[in-house]
């Protein structure tokens, strides 16, 4: 039987929901977060675009949050987004991004070497480099300025030679390691000895390689960038720093590996922040019905599927995520009576991109993109919390309210 109460219930599993929960909890409000309706962290590359931002300092809170986790974000100049390479050979624009992605910015002229791992078949550096080169040519053709385009090269390392301990006891199948996953590789790269081995392997490979003269020059001047599909997991900054100290190579990370390292890092940062702020997170609860504003004194109430459990909160933030589940997302299931909630119910995040059609059904707007959603999510969540914070009595938190909410 499920029966939990909180002053504020936040429903949603994306950035907006996390931001709303965090902002409210930091104001001393009892928050229950139900991460239903969004599981897209695995698809979130980790960078943010600002195209739909409306405020002058859109990312301040995000930058602060990341900085508190010792994982700094870098902001692009207004209207000059970073152009980041991906493992698929495409490029992605970003206005705010972690340092390891920003280092791969294709607007910079420094040559970039895409390096894959032979045992990690999800990324083919030669194929990606060719595709990126093609895009750079098209780009230069459109802008009329090809001089600044960086040289893009490709190479491959073998885990069996650089980090053999990762493969010990495992027999290849047809020369392949199909079960190999990047998260274990990332963790291994964070070990001091492994970092040194990686640096040494890169050094040796570059010594042997027949590099074009400008690339060799960049290498000598400490400007050569090496892009890997993943550079550590939680200690990526340390890996980059140590490799640079040992080799003079600028390590950067490519967007595109799945599940996305950037998304996992972002979720780790937010999870830790939620725990330290005292937010109760309840994964696995499926919200099927929302009844709000049944009568003026009633509390918001979310009912779930099993045994008619009830989650009771005075206020609700609904921040469903359209990225992974656009058809059956929570927002599309919202009944009309949520409008009668008299200021107790606030939508945030992806829900901002919904409209009500002629038949009164909520529908996602066309043309919205994944990057758009992630860009605005954090701010939208914060705004949702700010809308409610003034109305919630923080002194009343802490179990004394049992029985006051709509039994």
């Amino acid at each position: 039987m499920l029966d939990e109460k909180a002053q504020l219930v936040v429903v949603g599993g994306g950035l907006a929901a996390y931001a709303a929960a965090l902002a409210a909890a930091r104001q001393g409000i009892e928050v229950l977060l139900i991460p239903d309706g969004g599981k897209s962290w695995a698809l979130f590359g980790g960078s943010f675009a600002a195209r739909v931002q409306t405020q002058s300092e859109p990312f301040e809170a995000l930058v602060e949050l990341y900085a508190s986790a010792a994982y700094p974000l870098v902001a692009a100049k207004p209207a000059e987004p970073f152009v980041l390479p991906t493992t698929m050979g495409t490029v992605r624009a970003a206005d705010l991004t972690p340092e390891e992605f920003q280092a791969g910015d294709l607007r910079r002229p420094d040559p970039i070497l895409l390096v894959g791992w032979r045992e990690l078949p999800a990324f083919s550096p030669a194929w990606a480099a060719a595709a990126i080169r093609q895009r750079l040519v098209e780009w230069a053709g459109r802008s009329g300025d090809g001089s600044a385009a960086p040289t893009v090269l490709a190479g491959t390392l073998a885990i069996s030679q650089v980090l053999p301990q990762l493969l010990s006891g495992h027999t290849p199948v047809d020369g392949d390691y199909p079960g190999f996953n990047w998260r274990a590789l990332a963790r291994e790269m964070e070990q001091p000895e492994s970092r040194r081995r990686l640096a040494s392997a890169l050094n040796q490979a570059l010594v042997k390689a027949d590099l074009p003269r400008p690339v060799r020059q960049a290498r000598d001047e400490g400007r050569l960038r090496v892009a890997l599909p993943v550079v550590g997991l939680n200690l990526s900054q340390s890996v980059r720093r140590e490799v640079y100290d040992l080799t003079g190579l600028v390590l950067c990370e490519l967007i595109g590996l799945l599940p996305a390292p950037g998304g996992i890092r972002a979720k780790t940062i937010l999870d830790k922040a939620l725990v330290s702020a005292g937010v109760a997170v309840r994964p696995g609860w499926k919200v099927t019905r929302i009844v709000a504003g049944e009568k003026p004194t009633a509390c918001g109430r979310v009912q779930g599927t099993e045994e008619g459990f009830a989650i009771t909160g005075e206020y609700l933030v609904l921040a469903p995520d359209l990225a992974t589940d656009p058809l059956s997302c929570l927002a599309a299931r919202l009944p009309h009576d949520f409008r009668q909630a008299e200021g107790r119910l606030v939508r945030a995040g992806a829900a901002l991109y919904l409209y009500t059609d002629d038949k009164g059904k909520m529908r996602p707007v066309s043309g919205g993109t994944h990057a758009f959603l992630w860009a605005s999510g954090y701010q939208a969540g914060q705004e949702a919390a700010a809308n409610l914070v003034g109305r919630i009595d923080t002194q009343a938190a802490g179990g004394s309210r049992v029985g006051e909410c709509g039994r």
Binding site: M1, K39, W41, A42, L167, D176, G179, K267
Partner: protein
């Protein structure tokens, strides 16, 4: 048609139905990798194929050759043979079900993995068959240990015994095993006589009572307690506490015959034995349920197995499916039952009442704070954290929700020699969370989580939440 072939046909039909149902579930997979991001094993095992490949991908692959043959070609999208190491990977799955929680499409990869494992089609040659057979029947160890105690308790921690366990049995010699109880629970409380199945089912109990609705669907206040192996062989005092608590709250109690819920057999893929055990359990529990009794478990994993796995893993013969569903409707974790009882009592009295401890008991008397660890199976049940709610009613004790993920032990998994290190690596987050407490005192309702926390942090005091709550009564 002979009876034999009829019976075989029926089995084939049943299997086809299961395959189809599972394939439909697998087809909902978008391959978004959300399950991989949530899987605690993926982070510690370089070669672990992960829930996506072992669950939905493997189901699709099984069906693909038939589709190709029938269509005279096929697109080949999912027809690439998955490689040989996969069967071993199937054994690596912890069964924590975090992938189920992460999946945006409701695929339940952990269930598909369990089905793949139980199907036996991908079974690799078991080099540890005897060990797995033995751990699948963990009650045997309990029986032997309680029969031979106190000698068993003296011998178990000694080096020669650990050496033998490690090298002969394949049970990790480093694992700290719990001591056997001086007396079995069944010797303290004889199983109550089981009621006869009524001639006609009780239609008043066609489903679980609705929550939070006064005036209808209240609990029957008759509870049969399923002690499980842990209480029977290791913690009979916990069983005593459960019965005393329920009696104090005005609930009529009975004790069911001691039996394993079947989870170790399922986890170790002893399919036939698991089916036999499950069938016996359902037949036994049905007699209670049909006579108006609810079934209460103090172990969250046992409860979830009976409520969820019996049906979802197709362990029940077709003629007993309805019975299993009916039993599942009346199975409660003790914490959930207590909160439900509280609601009922509020309705009955027409005013709000709470089940609260009148004081902290045991070590909690001397503490300012304790940590609470949520077992994966409690998260997977998605029924809240009743014990956390109850613990937070302790006067003058701060309860920290550790929110540190999977502990890593996964039942008998963490006892195995080759998996002990994996279990510890997965539990590193929890270890750090416990060490960060002012005083390492942790409450959790899962017995193997308790075992793992003791292993991860030897100085920690770990107990069932009920053992910290003294004199629960209506207030």
């Amino acid at each position: 048609m002979s009876l034999t072939s009829l019976s075989r046909e029926s089995t084939v039909c049943q299997e086809s139905e299961q395959s189809l149902e599972s394939l439909v579930a697998a087809d909902a997979c978008l391959r978004c990798t959300a399950c991989l991001a949530a899987c605690p094993l993926v982070e510690v095992l370089p070669h672990y194929a992960g829930p996506k490949r072992l669950g939905p991908d493997l189901w699709r692959q099984q069906q693909a050759p038939a589709v190709e043959d029938g269509a005279g070609g096929g697109h080949g999208l999912f027809t690439r043979r998955l490689p040989d190491p996969l069967p071993y990977d199937l054994d690596l799955c912890l069964g924590c079900r975090r992938c189920n929680l992460a999946c945006p499409s409701g695929v339940e990869p952990a269930r598909l993995i369990a089905l793949n494992r139980l199907s036996g089609r991908h079974r690799h040659e078991r080099k540890t068959a005897f060990r797995d057979w033995f751990l699948g029947r963990a009650y045997l160890l309990g029986k032997a240990g309680t029969t031979l105690r106190p000698l068993a308790n003296v011998m178990l921690p000694t080096r020669p015994v650990r050496f033998a366990l490690h090298h002969v049995m394949g049970i990790s010699g480093e694992r700290v095993l719990p001591p056997f109880a001086n007396r079995r629970f069944s010797s303290l409380h004889q199983p109550s006589p089981r009621p006869q199945l009524p001639a006609a089912p009780d239609t008043r109990r066609s489903g679980p009572p609705a929550a939070a609705e006064c005036g209808r669907g209240m609990l029957s206040r008759k509870v049969v307690y399923f002690p499980g192996c842990q209480v029977e062989y290791y913690e009979p005092e916990l069983g005593e506490l459960v019965l005393n608590t329920l009696a104090r709250l005005g609930v009529e109690t009975a004790v069911d015959e001691v039996a394993c819920c079947g989870l170790p057999l399922i986890a170790n893929a002893w399919t036939k034995a698991a089916r036999d055990q499950v069938t016996a359990n359902v037949e036994r529990l049905l007699a209670w349920v049909e006579n108006g009794w609810d079934v209460v478990f103090s172990s969250s994993s046992c409860g979830l197995t009976v409520r969820h796995d019996y049906l979802s893993l197709h362990l029940i013969p077709p003629n007993l499916r309805e019975a299993a569903a009916r039993v599942a409707e009346h199975v409660y974790d003790l914490g959930s039952y207590l909160l439900r009882l509280e609601q009922d009592e509020s309705c009955r009295r027409g005013k709000q009442v709470q089940i609260s401890p009148n004081k902290a008991s045991g070590v909690a008397k001397h503490l300012a704070g304790i940590g609470y660890h949520t077992p994966c199976h409690v998260e997977a049940a998605a029924q809240g954290r009743p014990w956390l709610t109850l613990l937070r009613r302790l006067p003058d004790v701060e309860v920290v929700d550790l929110q540190a993920g999977c502990c890593g032990i996964a039942g008998t998994y963490g006892l195995k020699r080759e998996k002990y290190g994996v279990a510890r690596a997965v539990g590193r987050g929890l270890q750090q969370a416990v060490l960060a407490l002012d005083q390492p005192v942790v409450a959790t309702e899962c017995e193997t989580c308790r075992m793992q926390i003791r292993d991860l942090v030897p100085q920690a005091q770990v107990m069932h939440p009920l053992q910290l709550l003294d004199g629960l009564c209506f207030v």
